[in-house]
């Protein structure tokens, strides 16, 4: 009864994890990727790029105030936001592709949560020692030494967290200027707030929440199950090779019993009943010596030998750990390995190993790759054919038209010209129509307007139909505005309508 009365727990208390240091190719790859991703993140805002006198010389800049996005030689304006949408779709498809081919490699190697947690673990190991030392420290009471180590660790974590939050804001403003403003207390409140929030999240998520974020907060582990199938390469334990596991004395006894058992069973002849069936059948011990190395190194705190688990981020540190042990005990590597589920039956039957590429290259991944590439190619094509000048035409319809003293009919339009080039440009405004219409600009004698670099200009334009033009008497006449960059072939146009007097 007592157990029924207890309210069911929605959340398991965190069990502290003290991953052991590990060496091996996957660990090295993880180091390399960590250095690369963190390097890209911290350094990118500091890359300079000449953008002329009016703009900050920053290669990657999200200029929210002016709604411009600069990425090296590419400049994205708000109306070109489809580029961002396209990149997000590509990111999603890329995640599908990698997950269906290689499981949670994103989680294991590239996810910021993994990268920063790994970095925080490294700091922890430097300061507090490896697994056993940390375990001891965890259990001991809070004396001076423990306080000293903990506070040192927290300070280093905090410095990393501040640098992380700090790097983020540099993407949104000129980095050197912002750094100076941040240090002298002159930066905008939103900059400090952003740095503060990202510092707090980095410190808490990377230092304390760690694998709890992956297990409880992140939706991706749940979604990934739908992205994977039996051909997906994941980290798995060859239980057909490792079991039954055992170590030390128990293992020796197991081996002896197996030899004894086979001796009692006597020779067996294929296709006939074995001579002595009374003897108990005893299996020889598997390759797993139950050393717990794979469990001790796991940053998610799981035992991969229990089979596939939601928590596993396929970071392969257990593979490195196990291979090291296998080398020591003189067994072949690969007791824990990157495998597909279909490999199990195949290997149990003793068939040759299916090449990894056979698993990866299958319709599902090929379709993802095709979709991903198609969008990528589409975006690149769009990037090259997009016009650097553009205009939108808005007709003033209150009133629809004005009659002038000579009987002409005049319509008014607000034309917005975008100059996405890095230089000031002069544009000539004109129109094409089968009927003779005249253009006039508000506040300008000629038909030229100057638009500064990276700016838009709103220009009021009048279109006049003289009494003898057909358009003055007709109810509506379609025509096309165009702007031409002076001295170049660059043109842009916008279609609109002219309202005349109509039938009277």
């Amino acid at each position: 009864m007592a157990s029924q009365d207890a309210a069911p727990k929605l959340y398991a208390a965190q069990e502290p994890i003290f991953p052991k240091r590990v060496k091996g190719p996957f660990r090295n790859f993880k180091w390399a990727l960590m250095i690369f991703t963190l390097g890209v993140y911290y350094i990118t805002p500091w890359i300079r790029w000449d953008r002329g006198p009016s703009l900050p010389d920053q290669a990657v800049l999200v200029d929210l105030a002016n709604r411009r996005f600069f990425f090296f030689w590419i400049e994205i304006w708000p109306h070109e936001f489809y580029f961002v949408a396209g990149l997000l779709i590509m990111a999603g498809l890329g995640l599908f592709l990698f997950t269906s081919a290689l499981g949670r490699v994103w989680c294991g190697y590239a996810c910021p949560q993994t990268v920063w947690t790994d970095l925080f673990y490294t700091v922890e190991r430097w300061i507090e020692g490896d697994r056993n030392a940390r375990l001891r420290l965890w259990k001991q009471k809070w004396d001076f030494r423990k306080w000293r180590l903990r506070v040192t660790k927290w300070i280093v974590w905090l410095l990393i967290a501040v640098a992380t939050g700090g790097a983020w804001v540099f993407y949104f403003a000129d980095a050197p200027t912002l750094l100076r403003d941040l240090l002298t207390g002159q930066a905008a409140f939103v900059a400090y707030a952003t740095v503060g929030i990202l510092t707090a999240t980095t410190f808490i998520f990377g230092g304390f929440a760690r694998e709890q974020i992956c297990i409880y907060a992140c939706p991706w582990p749940r979604i990934q199950a739908a992205m994977m199938d039996e051909h997906t390469i994941t980290v798995a334990y060859r239980d057909w090779r490792g079991e039954p596991r055992g170590k030390g004395k128990k293992r020796r006894e197991m081996a002896e019993a197996a030899i004894e058992s086979s001796r009692l069973a006597g020779p067996t002849i294929r296709g006939t009943e074995p001579g002595a069936t009374s003897a108990p059948e005893v299996e020889a011990p598997g390759d797993c010596i139950d050393c717990m190395a794979c469990v001790n190194v796991c940053p998610m705190g799981i035992d991969i030998r229990d089979g596939q688990q939601m928590e596993c981020i396929t970071c392969a540190l257990c593979i490195d750990a196990c291979d090291e042990i296998m080398d020591k005990v003189g067994k072949p590597r690969g007791l824990i390995d990157y495998l597909a589920l279909t490999d199990e039956a195949n290997e149990r039957a003793g068939n040759t190993k299916v090449p990894v590429m056979r698993h990866i290259l299958r319709p599902r991944t090929l379709i993802y790759t095709a979709l991903w590439s198609a969008i990528g190619v589409g975006l690149i094509v769009a990037l090259f054919i997009r016009s650097e000048i553009d205009l939108t035409v808005a007709q003033v319809r209150n009133p629809q038209f004005v009659t002038l003293s000579d009987g002409s009919v005049r319509n008014t339009y607000d034309i917005r010209i975008r100059n996405m080039t890095a230089a000031d440009a002069t544009f000539r405004i004109g129109l094409t129509s089968d009927d003779v219409l005249r253009v006039d600009l508000e506040g300008s004698q000629d038909l030229m307007v100057e638009v500064p670099a990276d700016e838009t200009l709103l220009q009021r334009v009048y279109v006049i139909a003289r009494p003898e033009d057909a358009a003055s008497g007709r109810e509506r006449t379609d025509f096309r505005f165009w702007v031409e960059e002076f001295g170049t072939e660059e043109r842009a146009f916008g279609d609109t309508t002219f309202f005349g007097r109509g039938q009277q």
Partner: protein
């Protein structure tokens, strides 16, 4: 536990059950359970909150308004404060607008002042002018409210002329500086036949090719028009000019163009000749600040009709 009744009709109280309220519906009895503590406290808290709120903020309606509240909170005061804040931000521009020569305020030379004037002028226009001249400034022909978008101006369309009109109004008895003119009502002075002649003559003034349809696309009687010239020269030319092209100093309309303030049909023109027209515009200099008047002049000038 096992002998717990399965049907409400058989509900039997058991040991340890709370008291009932004595209410019973179809055999279902109502337990007299206390409200959860937290719920009760929240309830009390809302009462305290409600009372405190009505004390702190305006709440109880009275005869001449609601109680003011201890905090003195007022959304109106907040808005006023905001307006004051923005007014202070633009104070320099407003002062500049009263001191500068209006014609020198242009997009190219003084972009900041120009844009401020256009925005401020548009706001003033919407508030005070659009009732007669329309939101789009196209006027109302039937009522004789002039279209401010076209290129025809009774009293001149330069910045100074527009500014003068806004500041002092037209035919406005309250302002000695207002522009003033009055057309004679010719009913009784001219015979019906003469009126018909002069109406058609006036309409013909803007007919360049003489085909009986004038520039504003109104048909008229060419024979009557042919006989109207003398009537026109005797009675109308003093103000409208021998050629009928008007006089801006007097506010006499140009009759040779395609624009008719009150409409160019024969009926509308005859109405004008017989009974005259007397369009009045109020003076705004007393109501609007000098900066607002100037801003409105710049705005109206920018609408496409400015000279």
């Amino acid at each position: 536990m096992t002998d717990k009744p399965q049907h409400p009709e058989e509900q039997v109280l058991q040991e340890g059950d709370p008291d009932t309220t004595g209410h019973s519906w179809d055999g279902i009895k109502e337990f007299n359970n206390p409200l959860p503590r937290w719920w009760l406290w929240c309830f009390y808290l809302t009462i305290i909150w409600g009372v405190a709120y009505t004390v702190l903020y305006p709440a109880w309606p009275g005869i001449s308004g609601a109680t003011a509240g201890v905090l003195g909170y007022s959304t109106r005061a907040e808005v006023a404060e905001e307006i004051e804040r923005f007014d202070a931000l633009n104070a320099d521009l407003r002062t500049e607008l009263t001191e500068v020569e209006l014609a020198s305020v242009t997009r190219d030379d003084t972009p900041e002042l120009y844009n401020f004037a256009l925005q401020a002028g548009a706001a003033t226009f919407t508030t005070w002018c659009s009732q007669c001249h329309g939101e789009g400034a196209a006027g109302v022909q039937a009522a004789g409210y002039p279209n401010l978008l076209d290129d025809d101006w009774l009293w001149g369309g330069s910045l100074e002329d527009i500014q003068m009109t806004i500041a002092h109004g037209i035919r406005n008895e309250d302002d000695p500086d207002a522009r003033w003119s009055e057309m004679t009502a010719f009913e009784g002075i001219l015979s019906d036949e003469e009126i018909a002649q002069v109406v058609n003559y006036a309409m013909a003034l803007s007919d360049e090719d003489g085909d009986g349809v004038n520039a504003s696309n109104h048909a008229y009687d060419t024979t009557l028009a042919g006989t109207g010239e003398n009537v026109f020269l005797d009675n109308c030319a003093a103000c409208h000019g021998d050629a009928g092209d008007g006089d801006r100093f007097l506010g006499a309309p140009n009759l040779t163009d395609a624009i008719w303030l009150y409409g160019g049909s024969a009926e509308a023109v005859e109405e004008t000749v017989r009974h005259s027209r007397f369009g009045v515009m109020p003076a705004w200099s007393g109501r609007l600040s000098e900066a607002e008047v100037n801003a409105t002049a710049l705005y109206v000038h920018s609408l496409g009709g400015g000279e």
